[in-house]
Amino acid sequence: MNGLLRVVAAMLLLAVCGQAAAQDDLAPPQQERYRVLINELRCLVCQNQTIADSNAPLAADLRDQVHAQIVAGRSDAEIIDYVTARYGDFVLYRPPFKRSTWLLWVGPFALLAVGLVGAMAFLRRRRRDAVTAQSVDPERLREILEDKDA
């Protein structure tokens, strides 16, 4: 029930407001920065959407902020700092590399390295097994035979 209320509330929020057509007065390179930024910032009230995709009022406010700060000549890093100072790292869809996230960034590649090394080692072991199996078997056979003879 609670969950349902939440969904309904989110939908109402979606219904209320929308995207202002805010980018037209920007120069092309600034437009590009605006696009990239609003597509990497998370809307907090929505389920899981960027502020570019969301029609929630807060998302519109944040878009306007990003827009205004680009106009004011702030750098991307400054704008990101502005948002995280208020809402924390949660708003960043590209998590910053730091102590709590290094595993996130390094993990997949570490796994890949382990996987590749493991696969190579496995192949080598297999080939050695195969070779020794071929070279040893007749010998052991003879031993067994000799043993039998003796």
């Binding site: 805010a22 996230t101 195969a130």
Partner: protein, 658 residues
Amino acid sequence: MIPEIGHFALLAALAVALIQVALPLLGVWLGRPRWMEVAVSAAQTQFVLILVAYLCLTWSFIDMDWSVAYVASNSHSQLPLMYRISAVWGAHEGSMLLWVLILAGWMTAVSVFNERLPRDVLAMTLAVLGAISIGFLLFILLTSDPFARQFPVPLDGRDLNPLLQDPGLVIHPPLLYMGYVGFSVAFAFAFAALLSGRLDAAWARWTRPWTTTAWLFLTLGITLGSWWAYHELGWGGWWFWDPVENASFMPWLVGTALIHSLAVTEKRGLLKSWTVLLAILAFSLSLLGTFLVRSGVLVSVHAFASDPTRGVFILEFLAVVLGTAFMLYAWRAPKLARSGELNLMSREGLLLFNNVFLVVASAAVLIGTLYPLFVDAFDLGKISVGPPYFNMVFLPLSAPLVFLVGIGTVMGWKQARLGDALRRLRVPFVIALLVGLSLPWLLHRKSELMAMAGTFLAVWAMLTALVDPWQRIRAKKNRWFGLRQVPRAIWGMSLAHFSLGLWVLGLSFVSLYSVERDVRLGPGQSVELSGYTFAMEGVQHYAGPNFDADRARFTVSRDGRVLAELDPEKRRYRAQGSMMTEAAVDHTPMRDLYVALAEPLENGDWAVRVYYKPMMRLVWLAGVLMALGGAIAISDRRYRLASATRRAAVAGGAEAAA
């Protein structure tokens, strides 16, 4: 009365499921064939019972029985009939019913089409599937009863979530579940094989067509889901790396790995313990997905309204099923015979690396999806992991794989000569290089390095996919005869790999050369985008069956020539008052032109989003062709013929032993 019949049918199904687990296993243990055979009839009975329950719920929807709480929450008197039928799986309870119905369907299919399996293997497989069914039936009956009545009876329903009132959503969940649940068959085979200790090439051969079938449904389901999001969410996106999307993508990746490692196990009898692990993993990830989507541990665009008690139940169930399977694996797998030579320069050697890349890719998706939870659990703050992360990590994990595909398909089994392979790859490589260098510039007058690399890989995968069938055809004197001599399994594989190339091509262009604009437009105004002029002619109100809508008319032209008329809509669904965006798209294989109404502004103006998306269609076309490749592969006659002969051999062997 009807809902009570449905509820009772579920209870009966639960009882049958209990029998389906207990008797056959006892039968295997005590060596009683009669008891083992119960599994077959139990599975089929269970299917009929669950089907009855399912039809009862469907009837309640058609009949608009608002005394059933689930019906009242997800339907409405104005809801069209088609959506009243599909509303059965429009929310949690009913979709779980669809889940168990499909599970029972797979079970029945196993009982029908695998009569050639050894009796005890069939009995154990069906018992394992029955055990999974018990879990989900209990889940429905204890926490998510779709037949629960409510008093007082409301005058009308609260309507189906408008997002789901779309033809794409009518078939998306059934396809997706067919895939998810289908991996349970491979899981059950693996479990049975571990129990019996008979894990051999024959096991791989039984498992293969089932796995491929589940995989092709999952492929279709994911493709359709992406297509739906593109049309319905109104921001031109088709993949967002949302937890729910990831939940379907992880089993797909592992399932793909499984299909390939099964080939190695069947052909060479190698990698047995690895293959069996993948078979368990693919279904594990399906269950994990079910948990993530329904428990509310993660925030997602399209998660179900969540309820912690349900989360707890699925988690417990997951722990029992997977814990048992993995413990059994830890106990039995080390005893599996290791034999045979495995060379790097062979198809199986390269397939090993295919598996490494696919499994690591799947693990990367898992890490990215769960990392916010992990950070939170250790009290290190709250973070989000989204598309920028996944795109960045996924690219280096998948690009080498696509390149490897090209080499793998021309490499022979056992011990291939590198020189031979290289000779066969010379022409595709040169063509791919030339096309890769030129195509981005030819189409868009802008050469981006990523686009060139993407095009190269795409063309490489497409051409190398054709090498094998081509050489088989050329080897015959009569080309037409040769064409028909190529086994369907080869055609299927080639088509799937070709589609992979097509997919990479579409993906590269749509992600690098898309153009989008948000503009304010009034009637009579127009906007230009990539040489196309979008003119807004006007906006009209109209009333749909259960919604009111504003429909705009756009004329799209290029160089004065009208190409298309597009009618995007903004709908307001009456029952819940929620707004929906219906985008309008004009598409050719080479480009999509996409218009969506964002919101009304003052003076009759609208905030409008227009997009130019090159080669967008290829992404979905590739998904469909890939699934088609799977379908062609499983229709290969050797599955039918070979299993018939082996059946004879097994029967003969059994007699000899007796």
